[in-house]
Symmetry: C2
Subunit: 304 residues, 2 copies
Amino acid sequence: MSEPAYVAVDWGTSSFRLWLIDRAGRVLAERRSDEGMLAAAKIGFAGVLQSHLAAIEAPDHLPVLVCGMAGAKTGWVEAGYVDTPAPLAAILKQAVRVPGGARDIRILPGIAQRDVKAPDVMRGEETQLLGALGLAAAGEALVCMPGTHSKWVRVKDGTVAHFSTFMTGELFSVVSRETILSLAVAGADDAEDVASFKAAVKAAFEAPAFAANLLFGARSRQLLFGGTPAAARETLSGTLIGVELAAGLSGAVPKAGVTLIASGRLAMLYRLAFDALPVIVTPIDADEAVRRGLSMAAAAIWTS
Amino acid sequence: MSEPAYVAVDWGTSSFRLWLIDRAGRVLAERRSDEGMLAAAKIGFAGVLQSHLAAIEAPDHLPVLVCGMAGAKTGWVEAGYVDTPAPLAAILKQAVRVPGGARDIRILPGIAQRDVKAPDVMRGEETQLLGALGLAAAGEALVCMPGTHSKWVRVKDGTVAHFSTFMTGELFSVVSRETILSLAVAGADDAEDVASFKAAVKAAFEAPAFAANLLFGARSRQLLFGGTPAAARETLSGTLIGVELAAGLSGAVPKAGVTLIASGRLAMLYRLAFDALPVIVTPIDADEAVRRGLSMAAAAIWTS
């Protein structure tokens, strides 16, 4: 096994992921848990990190680079923001060191859009952007990063010009679990219903103001015409994603189409959604992107 | 005190209201409780009704007329639907009698829109429409009925032509209590922030596709620029209402403007919202409307 060079951590709101990386950027070991910022704020960030470092037998001198919500005000050590227009290169230069302790642990900053009309913040996605687009990317990109809080980002010549957060994932979660629509989706198995999903994406994309009506329609349709819980669930999911796409695609779309940074099930769902419109996307794996971004930052911090 | 003629009940999803009415339509006694359909389905509809009848010492022979969710499939006795296009006069003719028992208890039907593209149902609002517009209303009305599940209804010459349900109230409830935005509104007192509310209504009305972004903005604005929890709460409320208005007003608006059937705080909020656009409204009290509708139906059923 090659020599470990550093540890990379993507510390989100509700998830923790850690990779042991060698000098060539290869993954030597990996850890995943649900000790995200919310959980770690209660049990202690240092302890959570140390337990995972111990589990992979990371040497004491090995530095650790963290991105994500661990750098929030309500996180471990506040890592501030780079303000828009934000050169991705600036991310590398503003990492904040966790005070105390022998180990060199640094947290990357987020990006803030200090626009009273469109205030917004990101933490973690900037590192994905860095990994996905690189520092020297020329031209314009429109990037869709789906999730609990989806981000749509306009990047021009390596600088984040503007971005918008949509609560799509979180809305799906509360709407399907905590409202009257939970009755319509109760007992839904994992069966996919691509037709219902695509129809909902198109309907919401064409009439986004009707989102709260289209959601309720999932239940009315079941009452009046029948239909499976899975169809209702796909309708909720497609409606919320369709509205997000209507907003995200409301400005100019670059000739190259949309850059979709996502992994797993979300990547599959959003590709189906873009396909329903249809809009051309260039998919990039989000896990790979964040690892690559952390590697680029680690190289800049510890080899310069 | 004049002689009671019948008992009128508005039995909603989460609320129960009962009035003792004389032959002239005057209210002799009133009861309100939170034993709505959801609660009554567990403890028993007959028992809930009987306890309120006993509390007002209603004579055994007095008939009872019910509207609302007590007539749903998951309610007391299913009262079916009148299908659109639905003459309001048909509501009076399709009341269903609760079987068994000496007392004459009847439940009014709802209205169903059996349109695969826009399936929808209402129960209770049809009785408000009856009371607010009457049977012989000529011309067109566009009616907004705010609530947990707001209804927008087009009525033409006394017939419900089309309607749409928006989950505005329920979305406000789960978004402000169950999502990350609960942090932004935590500790909000009852102080009003009319400026934040109206600004949010206008922003969402103009860009409804951005609703899930405008909601998240309530938190980002607080992080980056400060602001009270009350301002954040009014932003959530104004955003959700603004999107509803964008959809509700997307078709032709009659010369007379919008008929707003609402009571209390909701009536105030929606009047502010329409005023922000601005759109002319004719306000009608919802409590009065449902009582009047039940009275009209009772007169038709028991004096014909």
